[in-house]
């Protein structure tokens, strides 16, 4: 940089340039070091250790003994665990579909408002997004308790008769999941829809497209990058949830997150817990790869 070179005596350009190039590289390295070390030491190395642990045998206390075995993965093929994986994938898929659908509906509505209203409405979605996760979960215990607000309402409507037990249940757990992930899903879809020129939809209408075709042929393809991002932020993260199935689902129907916590904290079987974590990690890598190729294809199509 020019600061280091003396202003009054211009030196031959090569030598100071090389020296300042070296200094500049050292400064860059020093600036990147704290974040870089954090990622390497607290993310990459730990992940490598989990992969190693997942192939290790357990000592009598459930700790890591070392060695190499596939037993941990074989044990995960037990029907009890397979059921957890199957159930989790189903719940995550359903949650993703519902969040994407509602996310699209809300984003379409938002994008059609005047700019100032959009800011206000967006704020209405930002606040629940940042509200404490546990508060948003236990809020549903209030709502769904026998004799609680929802029950009072259904009683008044004649749908139920007296206190009804909705919680704990799989349904309550699912509502909790949708509620937890919905704001997360709205943002990327809205981000991709709000840049769309409203004239596009009108042009399609003028050319004879009905409401349905305006959406499926024009708007949905434009929203696809946002929908893909929303799916990425919903699907695998849902698998790793453990608080909601315990508090709203009564802990009977577990997600992979519950399985991992149970293996680590209750069964104290670390190698198996590591194996379950590696499976979750693999699912994430697979969905990232799918996301990457799909996004790449969209970009090529666009250009």
């Amino acid at each position: 940089m020019t600061v280091t070179a003396p202003a009054h005596a211009p030196a031959p350009p090569t030598a100071p340039a090389r020296r300042s190039g070296f200094r500049s590289a050292a400064v860059t390295a020093a600036l990147l070091a704290p974040a870089g070390v954090t990622i390497v030491a607290l993310v990459l190395v730990p992940l490598a250790l989990v992969v190693r642990d997942s192939f290790a045998t357990a000592d009598p206390y459930g700790g890591i003994q070392g060695g190499f075995t596939l037993a941990n993965y074989q044990q995960l093929l037990d029907p009890v665990y397979l059921k957890v994986f199957g159930y989790s994938l189903g719940m995550a898929a359903l949650n993703t579909v519902v969040c994407l659908f509602l996310g699209y509906v809300v984003s379409y509505y938002l994008a059609g408002r005047p700019p100032q209203r959009q800011g206000l409405l967006l704020l209405l979605i930002i606040v629940p997004f940042w509200t404490d996760f546990l508060v948003r979960t236990f809020a549903w215990i209030n709502l769904l308790s026998p004799g609680g607000p929802v029950n009072t309402l259904t009683d008044a409507l004649g749908l139920t008769d007296g206190p009804t037990r909705w919680i704990p249940s799989q349904g309550a757990s699912f509502v909790g999941l949708v509620y937890a992930f919905l704001p997360t899903a709205i943002f990327p879809v809205y981000a991709s829809l709000r840049g769309v020129d409203p004239a596009l939809g009108e042009a399609a209408r003028d050319l004879g497209c009905g409401w349905w075709r305006v959406h499926t042929k024009v708007l949905l393809p434009l929203a696809r990058p946002g929908l893909l991002a929303a799916a990425l932020l919903t699907f695998v993260p849902t698998l790793g949830v453990f608080v909601i199935p315990v508090l709203l689902g009564g802990g009977k129907h577990e997600l992979v997150g519950n399985l991992i916590v149970t293996l680590y904290t209750e069964f104290r079987n670390q190698p198996m817990g590591a194996a379950a974590s590696v499976v979750l990690l693999t699912l994430m890598i697979v969905s990232l790869a799918v996301f990457g190729t799909a996004a790449g294809r969209l970009r090529r199509k666009a250009s």
Partner: protein, 271 residues
């Protein structure tokens, strides 16, 4: 301009969208209302009362958990914001290819399920035979918050005119003075937003804390989670109400413009 008559499907989806926004608020409003319930059970209304806030203020267990959470939040938010700022400044000096590679690593924790990150850190702490406590909690929360801090600061730093550095240098500032007098003041808003959001993320974190907290360092969410396993009490609703209020303050403090930039990117207005 706009078509005067809205089609029926447009009106129907409009109502569905409004219903979804209401759906986002009903549970939060119910927590707030029921926190002022004088009754011993959460759902039976027995008149307005603030007694549960009194009970909350006397709950030493919850208060000590609150202190742990505040300490961990301040420490991890500060480390994450500082790390994010340095990384943003360093990345601006990298070539395109290295920048993409570095940001790939930096944002990795955003896409890996948090529970896997927690398990992974536990493996490291186990290998090192480190005692779980405040330090491990802060390190765990640093992993979770650093990508968010970097995201916010990077966005703001990228929007700065690179000529500013040169202008400062031409006016006789050395690198440190240029940073102190030009870069830092311009990034102040983003840094405040990053810190506040990192603090919020750390403060509400439960997944990472499950794996990195030790005996005597139970955070507020962990404490509340174990209380909730025994059932919901009006006292927890009172605590929830305070946390909702806290969210409002954080969102206001960070500023709506920053929030928009972080969550939906850019300041473009629809054409």
């Amino acid at each position: 301009m706009k078509s005067a008559v809205k089609s029926l499907p447009d009106r129907a989806t409009g109502w569905l969208a409004r219903a979804v926004i209401v759906f986002l608020y009903v549970p939060i409003v119910v927590v707030v209302v029921l926190s002022f319930n004088g009754s011993d059970v959460t759902y039976k209304w027995a008149g307005f009362s603030t007694r549960w806030y009194g009970v909350l203020a006397d709950d030493t267990d919850l208060l000590s958990a609150l202190r742990i959470s505040a300490e961990v939040g301040v420490a991890s938010a500060t480390l994450a914001t500082a790390g994010g700022l340095l990384a943003a400044m360093g990345m601006a000096r990298l070539g395109r290819r290295f920048r993409v590679a570095f940001s790939g690593g930096l944002f990795l924790p955003l896409v890996i399920p948090e529970i896997v990150l927690g398990v992974a850190l536990l493996a490291v702490f186990g290998t090192l035979r480190a005692d779980l406590g405040l330090t491990t909690l802060v390190l765990g929360h640093l992993v979770v918050t650093l990508p968010y801090a970097a995201l916010i600061v990077l966005g703001a730093h990228g929007a700065l005119d690179p000529a500013l550095d040169e202008a400062a240098a031409d006016l006789g500032c050395n690198a440190w003075q240029g940073f102190r007098r030009v870069t830092l003041p311009l990034l102040r808003q983003a840094l405040v937003a990053a810190w506040l959001l990192c603090f919020t993320i750390s403060f509400g974190n439960i997944v990472m804390s499950t794996f990195t907290s030790g005996v005597g360092t139970t955070t507020l969410p962990l404490r509340v989670y174990s209380l909730l396993k025994g059932g919901l009490t009006p006292e927890i609703n009172a605590l929830g109400t305070l946390l909702v209020l806290f969210t409002f303050l954080i969102v206001l403090g960070a500023g709506l413009r920053q929030m928009r930039r972080i969550l939906v990117g850019g300041d473009r207005t629809p054409g």
